[in-house]
Symmetry: C2
Subunit: 436 residues, 2 copies
C-alpha cells in the first residue's frame, strides 16, 4: 500500500523559492490539488507550491503535461476536482511524478513558461475543491465519545455498539463551504432549563476539529468495498470544521440523530492533500484498549492494521474580534493527532459500503472530532469547557462557546524524521450574528 | 395559495384515449413530469398522459411550445427535471395550461404531429426523475412515532421534542433509485439476543410507505425560508419507499441516528405530480390532539393551517415470488392517507431552513412513514407485525419481514367529489438475496 518514490525525496527542492521555506505547508513533496480563479473566469484546477499555485490548464497548454490528462483537467473547470479524482491511482501517481519533475530546481522544460504557470496564491480566489455529492460524518474518536458521554450518560459513557460499529450519520452537503466563508449563527429551538421551548440564536455554538477524506473512485450500488480495496477509493484529505450548535443538538437528536445542529454550514480547507503525498506518514492503526473486541472480519485487514493510521498533527485556534483589532494572533486551544482515532479511514469506507450503499466521486467523509487522550487534545469546546469552565484567552477574554466575531482556524501538519514536513493550509471561518 | 384553473376542469378530456379511462393515474388533469428514454439515447423530459408519454422535446421541435421553454427542456436531457423545476411558478403554471390545451380533445394544433409526440409508456424506460442533491427524511406521522415508541420506550413512547420539532435526519441520495430497480438485501451488524455481535444479511427487512417532495427553487445559505414562502420551493411529489433494516437500525442508531439501515437503497416513483396538479386536494392541516402545543411561530402560518394538508390515499402491497408465479396480484397490506401527518410539507421546509441551511433544486424531502390512526393504516411492517405477529397472505404464506423475491408496490391516488381522480403511478422494488 505504502509506496514511496522520488516525489517524497527530502533533497528535492523547487524553483518556486517559497516552496523551499521550511515553514511552508506546500513544499515540492506535497503538491495538493485545489480549485482557484484569478479573475471573473470559472475556477480551474491547480496545484499548491509554496506561495503559488501551478495552473494545470496552463501546464497542459504549454505542452508540459501529457495530452492524456487534458480531458480530466478540462473537466474540472467551473465545477471541482472530480474529473481528476476519477483517474486511476496509477495515472494520479504518474501525474504527481511529472508535476514534481516540472517543479524541481533541475527542471529545464518549464523555463520559458514559468511566469505564466504560477499564479500567486494571494491573487487567487480558492473555491470548494470538489463538487460534493454526499457528506458522511463519522464518530471515530473514542476519546471524544467518552468525554461527551460522561455528561449525558455518566453510568455508561460509551454506547454498547461503539467498539463494533464505526458510527456515522449522513450530514448535509449543500451547506459545505470553503475556508474563508462566513458562518451565520443559526437560529433554532431547544428546551430551556425552565422547561419552556425557545426558538432563537444558538447560545452554544461550537467547532469540531476533523479530518475530511474525499472519495475518488465511485463504487457500485449493491456491491460492498472490501476493506483491502478501500484505500483505492480515497483521492485525498482536507481539514474540516463541523460547526455544531449544542443546545439545538441536545433537543433535536432523539431519536434520529443530529440535524439542524450540524447543517448550518461546514467549512473545509481548499487543498486536497493526496493519499500519495501522505504515504510517508502512514502508521499502524491505533492499538485498541485492553479488553476491546477485535474488529469484525469485514473491518479487519492486515495491511490496514499495519499502516492504516495517519500521523497528522492537528490544531485549532480562536481569534476574537478584540484580538483581531489588536493585531493579536489566533490562540491555539487544541493540539491533537489523527493517530488517536479508534477507526481507520479504510474501516470507515468498508463500513459505509458494507450494506451495498454506493460512494461517489466527490463524496466527503468526515472523521468526527479528532480528540486524543490528553486534555490539550480535546478537539471541540463541548469537551474543553463542558459548557461550564471557560477557556481563558491571552487578552483577558474568555470563551465557553463561540461569540459573534470570533474566527476559528484549523491547521494540520505531517512530520516525520527524514522527510520534509507537509501541511494542509488554513481552514477558517468567522461567526456572523444571527438573523433577527 | 390554492389556485384552480381550466387544467382542473373535470369535463376536460384528451385525444389520448387511455387518459379518459377512469382508472388511469394520468388523466389530462394530472400531467406529471418524468424522465424517459425510448432507446439508447439519453433520457429526456416527458409528461405522462394515460398510457403514453408526451415528448417535451418533440413538442418544442413541432413548434407547439413557446421557445422560452427550450433551454429548460433541453437542460433536462440526460440528467433530470431540474432545469424545468427551476422555472418560476408562473412559468410552470403557464406550461401546464399549454400542455392541457395541446392534449385536450378540442386541440387542433397537434394534429399532424400526434404520432411522433406520444411515446407508449410500455416502450419507454423511465429514469430517476430528478438529479437529487440532498435527501432529507422526516418523521411526520405521530401515529408511526407512537407505535414505534411503544416497543422501545413503553413509558414515554413519543419523545418530548416531537410536538415541537418536525424531526428529520439527513439520508443518502446516492442510493435513491427509480421504481423497478432491484433491492439487494443488505448485510450488516447487530447484537443478537444471545449477546454476540453478528454480521450478515438483515433478518428484519422492512418497507416504509412515504410521500416524497422534490425541491424546485433553491434557497440561499444563511437565509431561512419563511413558512408562508415554503410552498414556492416545492416542484412536486412522488411516492417513496424508505427500505429499512430494523435489526441493523436498532443496533447502530445510538447516538447519531440511523445510517446503514436506511442507505441500502430508496425507491421513488418515476413521475413528479406537480403542486399545481394537487391543488384541488389541499385540505386543512391535521388538527393537533387536545393539549398539544401550538406550532412555534416559525412553523405557523394561517394559510398553511388552512390548506397545507394533502388528501392523498396511499397503499402498500406485497407480492411474493409464489404469488407472482401463480399469477396472483399484489396483496394490499396498508391503506393510509397523507392527511394524517402531524407536520405539513411547508412546516418541513421552514424547519429545514430555519438554521440557514440551504435547500437546492432536486433535493428530495421524505415525509417519513405515513401511518394513520387505524390498524389498517400502519405503513410499515414494524408497526403491522411488531416483529412477532405475521401478516397472513391470501395464498397461505405469511410475512413478519420481507423475504427474498418479495416485491413491494406503492400506489397513491387523490380523489375529491367534483374532480377527476389523479394518481402517482407505481413505486415498486423486488428483494434480491444478499451477497454471500
Amino acid at each position: 500500500m505504502i509506496q514511496l518514490d522520488a516525489t517524497h525525496d527530502p533533497a528535492r527542492r523547487s524553483w518556486v523559492g517559497s516552496a523551499n521555506d521550511p515553514a511552508t505547508d506546500f513544499p515540492i513533496q506535497n503538491l495538493p490539488y485545489c480549485m482557484f480563479s484569478s479573475g471573473a473566469e470559472p475556477a480551474r484546477a491547480g496545484v499548491a507550491i509554496g506561495d503559488g499555485i501551478l495552473d494545470l490548464e496552463g501546464a497542459l497548454e504549454a505542452g508540459l503535461l501529457a495530452p492524456s490528462y487534458a480531458s480530466a483537467i478540462a473537466g474540472c473547470r467551473g465545477t471541482g476536482l472530480n474529473a481528476l479524482a476519477r483517474l486511476d491511482r496509477g495515472a494520479l501517481r504518474a501525474l504527481r511524478l511529472r508535476l514534481s519533475e516540472l517543479l524541481r530546481v533541475e527542471d529545464d522544460a518549464t523555463g520559458p513558461h514559468r511566469d505564466r504557470l504560477i499564479v500567486s496564491a494571494r491573487q487567487a480566489v480558492l473555491q470548494l475543491p470538489m463538487k460534493i455529492g454526499g457528506f458522511t460524518d463519522f464518530f471515530a474518536s473514542l476519546h471524544h465519545t467518552e468525554r461527551g458521554g460522561r455528561r449525558t450518560r455518566p453510568d455508561n459513557p460509551v454506547p454498547a455498539n461503539y467498539r463494533y460499529v464505526p458510527i456515522a450519520y449522513n450530514s448535509r452537503a449543500s451547506s459545505v463551504r470553503v475556508s474563508g466563508a462566513a458562518i451565520r449563527r443559526p437560529n433554532g429551538q431547544w428546551r430551556r432549563a425552565t422547561g419552556d421551548v425557545h426558538f432563537g440564536p444558538t447560545e452554544a455554538l461550537d467547532f469540531e476539529l476533523e479530518l475530511g477524506a474525499f472519495v475518488g473512485h465511485s463504487s457500485v450500488l449493491g456491491d460492498p468495498v472490501p476493506i483491502d480495496r478501500a484505500p483505492d477509493h480515497i483521492f485525498g484529505y482536507c481539514l474540516l470544521n463541523d460547526w455544531s450548535a449544542r443546545d439545538i443538538q441536545r433537543w433535536e437528536s432523539v431519536p434520529l440523530g443530529p440535524f439542524l445542529a450540524k447543517t448550518l454550514s461546514t467549512t473545509v480547507s481548499p487543498f486536497v492533500v493526496t493519499a500519495d503525498a501522505l504515504a510517508p506518514y502512514r502508521i499502524a492503526a491505533a492499538a485498541r484498549p485492553a479488553g476491546d473486541p477485535a474488529p469484525l472480519p469485514y473491518l479487519h485487514a492486515e495491511a490496514d492494521q499495519r499502516d492504516g493510521g495517519l500521523d497528522l498533527l492537528l490544531k485549532a485556534s480562536i481569534q476574537t474580534e478584540a484580538m483581531r483589532t489588536a493585531g493579536a494572533p489566533p490562540h491555539c486551544v487544541t493540539t491533537t493527532n489523527f493517530k488517536h482515532m479508534y477507526w481507520t479511514v479504510a474501516q470507515m469506507i468498508a463500513h459505509h459500503t458494507s450494506n451495498g450503499c454506493n460512494i461517489e466521486t466527490g463524496d466527503l467523509i468526515g472523521s468526527g472530532t479528532t480528540s486524543g487522550p490528553t486534555d490539550e487534545s480535546r478537539a471541540c469546546l463541548a469537551e474543553i469547557t463542558d459548557g461550564e469552565r471557560p477557556i481563558a484567552l491571552p487578552n483577558g477574554e474568555s470563551r465557553t462557546w463561540l461569540v459573534d466575531g470570533d474566527s476559528v482556524l484549523f491547521t494540520g501538519r505531517a512530520e516525520r524524521p527524514g522527510f520534509v514536513p507537509i501541511g494542509f493550509g488554513r481552514c477558517e471561518g468567522r461567526i456572523l450574528p444571527a438573523h433577527a
